[in-house]
Symmetry: C2
Subunit: 99 residues, 2 copies
Amino acid sequence: MAEEKASKEGQDNVVFVGKKGTMAYVLAVVTQMNQGAKEVVIKARGKAISRAVDVAEIVRHKFITDADIKEIKTSTEEVTAEDGKPLKVSAIEIKLVKK
Amino acid sequence: MAEEKASKEGQDNVVFVGKKGTMAYVLAVVTQMNQGAKEVVIKARGKAISRAVDVAEIVRHKFITDADIKEIKTSTEEVTAEDGKPLKVSAIEIKLVKK
């Protein structure tokens, strides 16, 4: 599934949150910031949206306390369901920025 | 559970998203706006966060197309788990405003 891959989508420093455990994505964000990224965008769709918020909250409260949420955007994306029909899912983008 | 109630918390026009079906909360938001509310805040915690984003997206795309998301805030709240221990959960507040 598209949710599973660590997406680049023409944009650096994106962490795509899917079905793995929350800490896997926390580690991905922390690693990118510790390697010098000033900004990391956490993206998720559907039920993974709650996990994306957890990831952002855990990173900024426990690991990188000088990181802050600069912007949160939501949108509706159209994906193809398993039966081939189009399906609308909500999506979120959380932009974390190191001060 | 606290998630279940349609919370006021000293603030009018709040819809607290819990475990009911998404459309129950969509209806609550649409009703408030149709009764004259210019602004409705959709709140959720934990796994209900994804549903809160669905509610906001469905309201503004399908029902009240002149409504827009003005602000999204996330936070970490401490609740008491069933075993009595403190538990941290992520929370979201989505402010929908009618133009």
